[in-house]
C-alpha cells in the first residue's frame, strides 16, 4: 500500500455522534417511522457492531450517515448526525458528496445492484481512485489492480478487465470492498460485507479492515448477522429491534451475558460448529412469532412484548427506555428496571 495520503484526524470527542435519529418512510400518505430515538457514538479506531432482526433498520441507519436515505419516500425526520461536530443532516448535496468521497465509505449489502454492469471492475475502481487522489488514468489503473490483489482476486491483471456478471458472487463482493477501501476513509461502514465469502477470504478481508484501522485510525461500523464475526471483529455492539436500540455494550457482555430477552433469544438461535459434532443435531431454538411491521407498531409499549416470555402489563403499555446495567452497558427492558429496584 502507498503511504497515507491524508493527514491524521486531530480532534477530540467522538468522530461520529448520532443523536435522537428518526427516519420515516411515507407509506399510503403516512409518515411511518422505521428508526426512532437512536443515539450512538463512534470513536476513531473503534469498531462498532450493529446486529438485529431483518428489517429492524440497520441498513437504513447506515445509509442515513451518508445522506443516502431514498427520498422520497424516506427522510431523516428528527435528530442530528454529527461528523466531527458538523451536522450532516443539514449538509447540502455537494458537501455530502465530499463526505462520501473523503470521510465515510460504505460496502453495500447487495453487490450486484451497486456495481455498474456496463463498466469493467478495473474501470470502476480506477475511476474512484482518479477522482479521489487526482491520479492519472494509468496510475489509477495500477492502483485498481493492486487493490484487487489485496482483496484476494486471483490474476488481478486479467480479472480487472472482467465485467461484474463474469465474477462469482464472492468476487463481486470483494470488488465492492476494494472500492470502499481504496480511498482510505475515516469511517468505513460495512453492511454484511462478507456473507457471500468463504471464511478464509472473510478473514483476509477483516485483516484489511484492521490494517485500515491501524494505519489511519479509521472507525468501522460493521453490520452483520454473524455472531461469530461480531465476536471476532468488534469492540462494542449495538442491538436493534423494530427501529430502536434495545441493548448496547462491550462485545464480551453481548455474547456472555446478554440482557435484553431478544438479545438472549438471538444468541440462543445460532448453530455452533463443534469438533467432533453431536450425533443427531437437535432442532435450533426459535424465537416465537414474527417481528411486527413498522406500521403495526403501536405508539407505546415494548415492540418485543408480543414475542417475549417475560412480558408483563407494563411492557405492553409503556415503551422501555435504555437503562444502564453497569459497565457502560444499557438495555431497554422493564425487567432490568424492576431488577434494579
Amino acid at each position: 500500500m502507498p503511504e497515507p495520503l491524508k493527514p491524521e484526524l486531530l480532534t477530540s470527542g467522538p468522530l461520529l455522534s448520532v443523536r435522537d435519529l428518526e427516519i420515516v418512510f411515507r407509506i399510503d400518505g403516512q409518515d411511518v417511522p422505521v428508526v426512532r430515538d437512536l443515539s450512538f457514538d463512534i470513536e476513531a479506531g473503534e469498531t462498532l457492531g450493529i446486529v438485529g432482526e431483518s428489517g429492524c433498520g440497520k441498513s437504513i441507519t447506515a445509509l442515513s450517515l451518508l445522506g443516502l436515505v431514498p427520498n422520497p419516500p424516506g427522510r431523516v425526520s428528527k435528530g442530528q448526525i454529527l461528523l466531527n461536530g458538523e451536522d450532516l443532516t443539514r449538509a447540502g448535496e455537494a458537501r455530502l458528496n465530499a463526505v462520501r468521497g473523503n470521510d465515510i465509505s460504505m460496502v453495500f449489502q447487495e453487490p450486484m445492484t451497486s456495481l455498474n454492469p456496463v463498466y469493467t471492475i478495473g474501470e470502476q475502481i480506477a475511476e474512484t481512485v482518479r477522482v479521489h487522489f487526482g491520479l492519472s488514468r494509468a496510475a489509477a489503473w495500477d492502483r485498481a489492480v493492486e487493490m484487487l490483489s489485496q482483496v484476494g482476486i486471483p490474476s488481478p491483471k486479467t480479472r480487472a478487465h472482467d465485467y461484474p456478471h463474469q465474477l462469482s458472487g464472492g468476487m463481486r463482493q470483494r470488488v465492492m470492498i476494494a472500492i470502499a477501501l481504496v480511498c482510505e476513509p475515516k469511517i468505513l461502514i460495512a453492511d454484511e460485507p462478507t456473507t457471500a465469502l468463504d471464511v478464509t477470504v472473510q478473514a483476509q478481508i477483516f485483516d484489511l479492515f484492521q490494517d485500515l484501522q491501524e494505519r489511519f485510525g479509521a472507525a468501522i461500523i460493521l453490520i452483520t448477522h454473524d455472531i461469530g464475526v461480531v465476536a471476532q471483529m468488534t469492540d462494542r455492539v449495538m442491538v436493534m429491534y423494530a427501529g430502536r436500540k434495545i441493548e448496547e455494550g462491550s462485545v464480551a457482555s453481548f455474547i456472555r451475558d446478554p440482557r435484553h430477552p431478544y438479545t438472549r433469544g438471538l444468541i440462543s438461535c445460532i448453530p455452533h460448529l463443534s469438533l467432533p459434532p453431536s450425533d443427531v443435531p437437535a432442532p435450533l431454538f426459535e424465537i416465537p412469532g414474527v417481528v411486527p411491521s413498522a406500521r403495526e407498531l403501536g405508539a407505546s409499549g415494548c415492540a418485543f412484548a408480543p414475542r417475549c416470555s417475560h412480558a408483563s402489563g407494563r411492557c405492553a403499555a409503556e415503551t422501555p427506555t435504555l437503562f444502564p446495567v453497569g459497565d457502560g452497558r444499557s438495555a431497554a427492558c422493564w425487567l432490568e428496571v424492576e431488577a434494579a429496584r
Binding site: C269, L273, L275, E286
Partner: protein, 335 residues
C-alpha cells in the same frame, strides 16, 4: 446401494466457461458425488471454487462440458429442451436472495402456483389446494396468500421461495446459500423447516453454504471444494471430527467463533488463490499449503476413499505433520 436409490449422481462433471481470448475458466473440473433420498449433501469451499456452477449443472441450468449427471438413475446430461421438463419438475432451486427471486407484482399464491401452471400439473382446483397445503408446510398462514412479496419479512419471503420450489414435489432441492441473507432468528426457523422436509418428505438436498456451522447442522455428507475440484468428501461425522485436507483445516480454523472473542487459531493461507483460467499442475492448493513438498507441485493427488467413504486429495493427508494440525483444531474446539 443401488444406483436408483440415489436421487442425484454427478460423475466426473466438468464445466468450462470460454473466455473471450480462446482460453477457458475451469469452473468445475471433474467432480463426482451421489445424493441418496432423504439426505442432505453439503458443498463448502473457496469463493469462486465452482459450487454454484456444480448446482447449476445438476439442474441443467448451465451447459456441461463433459462428464455426466443422473437424476434417479436416468442420465440427464444432454437432454434437449422438451425432455428437460422432468428435470425442471424434480429438481428445484432455492436462491440466496429471497427478494430478487420473487416477482414483486405477483401475489404470494400466484408465485407458489406458477410452476404448476407452467408444467400443466393438476386441475385448477387441485392447484389451489396444493398451494394451501404448501403454505401450511412452510409455516405461512393461508390469509397471507394474497399478499405481495414486499409485505413479507425476509424469512417469510424465503419460505415463499421454498414453497414455490416444493410445488412440483421435486426429489431434489438445491439450496444455494439459502440462509445467508437472513438474520439468525429466521435462519433457525428455515433450517428447522429444511430439516423437517428432509425427514418427513424424504427430500434430497444439495446445500451450498459458507457457514460451516449451518452445514454441520443440516448435512449428512459434505464435500469441500477448492478451485473447481473436490479436495475432501465424507460423512458429517468424519469431516468434522477427522478433517484431513490442509484446505479443510484452513477453512475450519477460520470460522469466527462466538466463544473465542478476538483470538483465533486461524491458519493463514499464504499467497493468492491461483487462476481458474490456467490452474497449476500438481496439487492446486500447493501454492498456499503449509505442508507442500516437492511431489505436491509435480503430481496431482487423487481423491482416495478410505473404507468409510471419507476421501481426500492430498499426498500428505496421513503425514504426522498434517495429522497434528487436525488434532490441534479438534483440541481448540473442545477446549
Amino acid at each position: 446401494m443401488t444406483e436408483t436409490a440415489n436421487v442425484l449422481e454427478a460423475r466426473d462433471l466438468v464445466v468450462h466457461f470460454p473466455t473471450g481470448d480462446g482460453q477457458a475458466v475451469h469452473a468445475v473440473d471433474g467432480v463426482s458425488f451421489v445424493i441418496p433420498a432423504g439426505t442432505a449433501f453439503g458443498l463448502v469451499g473457496e469463493s469462486g471454487s465452482g459450487k454454484t456452477t456444480v448446482a447449476m449443472a445438476c439442474a441443467r441450468l448451465t451447459d456441461i462440458t463433459s462428464g455426466s449427471v443422473y437424476l434417479q438413475g436416468e442420465e440427464i446430461t444432454h437432454l434437449e429442451r422438451g425432455a428437460l421438463k422432468a428435470v425442471r419438475r424434480h429438481v428445484q432451486v432455492v436462491f440466496q436472495d429471497p427478494y430478487a427471486s420473487l416477482n414483486p407484482r405477483e401475489r404470494a399464491r400466484d408465485i407458489v402456483r406458477r410452476p404448476l401452471d407452467l408444467m400443466g400439473i393438476g386441475t385448477k382446483q387441485e392447484r389451489e389446494a396444493r398451494v394451501d397445503a404448501l403454505f401450511a408446510t412452510v409455516g405461512l398462514r393461508s390469509e397471507q396468500k394474497d399478499l405481495f412479496p414486499h409485505q413479507f419479512s425476509g424469512g417469510q419471503r424465503q419460505r415463499i421461495g421454498i414453497a414455490r420450489a416444493l410445488a412440483t414435489s421435486p426429489k431434489l432441492l438445491i439450496c444455494d446459500e439459502p440462509v445467508s441473507a437472513l438474520d439468525v432468528a429466521i435462519q433457525a426457523q428455515i433450517l428447522n423447516l429444511l430439516g423437517r422436509l428432509k425427514g418427513e418428505l424424504g427430500l434430497a438436498f444439495l446445500f451450498i453454504s459458507h457457514d460451516l456451522a449451518v452445514v454441520q447442522h443440516l448435512c449428512d455428507r459434505i464435500a469441500v471444494m477448492y478451485l473447481g475440484q473436490i479436495v475432501e468428501i465424507g460423512a458429517r461425522r468424519d469431516i468434522f471430527s477427522r478433517p484431513r485436507h490442509p484446505y479443510t483445516h484452513a477453512l475450519i480454523s477460520a470460522v469466527p467463533s462466538p466463544h473465542t472473542i478476538g483470538a483465533s487459531t486461524r491458519i493463514r493461507l499464504k499467497g493468492d488463490p491461483p487462476s481458474p483460467i490456467s490452474p497449476p499442475a500438481g496439487c492446486r492448493f500447493a501454492g498456499r499449503c503449509a505442508h507442500t513438498v516437492e511431489i505436491c507441485r509435480r503430481a496431482t493427488p487423487t481423491l482416495e476413499a478410505g473404507d468409510t467413504g471419507h476421501a481426500v486429495a492430498c499426498h500428505r493427508a496421513d503425514d504426522p505433520e498434517v495429522v497434528a494440525v487436525r488434532d490441534m483444531l479438534v483440541r481448540a474446539s473442545s477446549g
